[in-house]
Symmetry: C2
Subunit: 281 residues, 2 copies
């Protein structure tokens, strides 16, 4: 376990966070890791512009600044929400050698950026908890897990699939379906694809799974695992299949292996999934 100090920059590519949330996150970091975890909240995190944490230009500039700054070891997305796909499309070509070495941690809407980074072979994209998870029941555990990963790389923070020795990615289902349509999604041949979602009707999950598993991007995937789908709204008529039946159905139609459940989701138990090939534990 390394004892060096990790400098972690936080930005908000979608919605903003409060200073109170930033302070609480810093307190958890200090209590668990002392000097070894230094959190640097970019002022952009607290800007409010309509739905977003600042204009598209402000959010793009903040991300580019911290990604390219050699004083930070990692970029931690402080919140999802919506807006990462609105960042300047050209910024991914402006990421420097430093940015190509960094870890990028987040999930949900931030998966838009993780996908672009992974598609471009830039840095280490990682699916895992964000400060905004503090608002969830048991949220402190999620934050502590993310910090543990960022500071020590602790194997106990990882989702089991990410210790299997195979290539792994994790995405929000709705985000991935849009990434694929936008041609922002990496080729997932040979990958185990972990999926999760929140607050979507089962028919929306079904439609997104149709899109994802009909796509050439998944045609040669090693398999799909389903994380948790939480807060599913009740529809005017029951869908007639569970979320697991839906995912297994579309996997079977596509000839892609359904490999069971994954330990990710919009909740405190959300484990860490580094993208790409991983070492068996």
């Amino acid at each position: 376990m390394s004892e060096e100090t990790k400098h972690i920059a936080l930005v908000c590519p979608g919605g903003p966070i409060s200073r109170d949330l930033a302070n609480k996150t810093s307190e958890i970091a200090a209590a668990s890791f002392g000097e070894r975890a230094q959190l640097h909240f970019h002022p952009q995190c607290f800007v409010e512009a309509g739905h977003f944490a600042g204009s598209d230009a402000e959010r793009s500039a903040a991300f580019l600044e911290v990604a390219n700054d050699p004083k930070y070891d990692a970029v931690w997305f402080a919140r999802g929400g919506y807006g990462a796909c609105r960042l300047d499309d050209g910024l991914f070509t402006k990421l420097n050698a430093t940015a190509h070495e960094k870890t990028y941690l987040g999930y949900s809407d931030a998966g838009m950026i993780l996908a672009r980074l992974y598609q471009g072979g830039i840095g280490k994209p990682v699916h895992g908890p964000m400060p905004t998870d503090l608002a969830r029941p048991g949220g402190e555990q999620a934050i502590a897990r993310a910090l543990d990963f960022l500071v020590t790389g602790g194997a106990e923070t990882l989702e089991a699939t990410a210790k299997s020795g195979g290539k792994t990615v994790a995405f929000n289902i709705t985000v991935l379906s849009h990434l694929i349509a936008a041609d922002w999604a990496p080729d997932l041949s040979g990958h185990i694809v972990l999926l999760e979602d929140v607050s979507e009707y089962l028919y929306s999950i079904d439609r997104a799974m149709f899109a994802i598993l009909s796509s050439p991007k998944l045609r040669h995937a090693a398999g799909v695992k389903l994380g948790r789908i939480s807060d599913i709204p009740e529809n005017d008529r029951p869908f007639g299949q569970s979320e697991e039946e839906i995912v297994a159905y579309w996997c079977a139609r596509a000839g892609v292996a359904y490999l069971g459940r994954a330990d990710i989701g919009h909740d405190a138990d959300n484990k860490v999934v580094p993208f790409g090939a991983n070492q068996p534990s």
Copy 2:
């Protein structure tokens, strides 16, 4: 104006309809067109299986049966809802010479089928009202318009863009974003693309427009026109842009012309948009 009788078969690729709705639609047809409009509701329209008008196999078989039957001049989708993307993927290769000559009319979820037909050069896919629109205020007008198109091909039923002499398609925004991801969408180069939606948050519309306009399928589109986005739910914070600003924003980013408003939507005014090249009026 042709005086021959048109035989119109109705099926439900997504959700079911009631016999009452079928009867009312037939009454409108009889009152307006007498013997010239013969509606044939397939029994599958009334089957209920969970969310759907029968199992995927039942819905697929009913569609294939009426499409391939030479006694019908047109297939009219009686309702959208959700489920057209679950039809047997292989059925589009089983459509016979008769099916290749027919008109197919519907919209919303039925756009999944219109896209596949258009991609395959099969028949005449047309975006327009369905019997289920009877439940909307002024719905009888919508049904009468669709019948007028099917029986007489009346030019006054058409959306203005469909009389411009250019190539035109029309889609529900959410459906099109999923079609593109699934690689079911036709190449829309040279087309004016008319878009509409219902009951989606503005951030969902924005995300879908990101996906649609980032896609290679739209890269060489002749332009985009926005129909109506109705019943937009209120979000916890205002999005900060109108639906027209959203569409114009993504068009500008993609370098695709935004050409203004279109007269389509989930409402009684929904005009008819035949896919493909049209004759200037």
